[in-house]
Symmetry: C2
Subunit: 150 residues, 2 copies
């Protein structure tokens, strides 16, 4: 377990200063999407986020959420979890990391471990003359809690 409230506060503070520095606009919709993801601390589908925005009277249509997510991903504040077609707040914002995810198929909690660059993908790409733009490293399985519950 960890101090969730303070980890949210820290992440939001980082997001704001990062955006201010880069001249990016962290608008209300974008901020709220980030908050929702931080509060849940797990991967949420775009439509789950959308439902919550709707309840709060913010943007009620899919494009609103997808645009906010695009922005947050480009800013490095959120990651897309390909395995789930879902999204999770970045747990290591600002550390210039290559994300590696452990995704629980049961509770959808996402463990993000910072990893050094320069692994198998990079070596394979070099040999093939392939120019990597983005990489995805995800493992699906059961987290420690769900293993115990099972």
């Amino acid at each position: 377990m960890h101090d969730h409230a303070s980890c949210i506060r820290a992440a939001l503070a980082h997001a704001e200063s990062h955006c201010a520095r880069e001249g990016l606009q962290l608008t209300p919709v974008r901020l709220r999407v980030l908050e929702i993801l931080l509060e849940e601390h797990r991967a949420l589908g775009a439509y789950e986020i959308l439902d919550r925005l709707r309840d709060e009277g913010l943007g009620g249509q899919p494009p609103v959420v997808y645009r906010a997510l695009d922005f947050l991903i480009r800013a490095g504040l959120v990651h897309r979890i390909e395995t789930l077609n879902a999204f999770a707040a970045c747990a290591h914002a600002g550390e210039g990391h290559v994300p590696v995810f452990l995704v629980c198929r049961q509770c959808r909690h996402v463990i993000e471990t910072p990893a050094p660059a320069g692994g198998q993908l990079e070596r394979a790409a070099e040999g093939a003359g392939f120019a990597i733009e983005t990489t995805v490293r995800e493992a699906e399985g059961l987290c420690a809690d769900c293993r115990i519950a099972a």
Copy 2:
């Protein structure tokens, strides 16, 4: 370049003997889906495959394709490319590999490099008490051909 016809023949021969050995039924629909993927040698969406099956008078509805793909994936003959929500025939069937993919975002060609198990994901999982069931390692970018063409 490589001898495509012979690589298809080899892959089909492997698929048939593998299924026979394991008591799996490589039915006409399943075989045809595998052939289509082998012929293209790139990632195809489920509906692209479906269109081709329809043209040939085989199963005209989505479930037919998805079931065939499920079967082929479970048999280790096809991989799902998460980055593209698409599917590609396995280039190293029967070698007990952990697949690593280099996916060209332009031509959708998929380079599959066999990789040893036991990398970052496994180490990270061990530390977290996480039980890995499947892993995804994909890189998106431009392949050598498309870089030259650009």
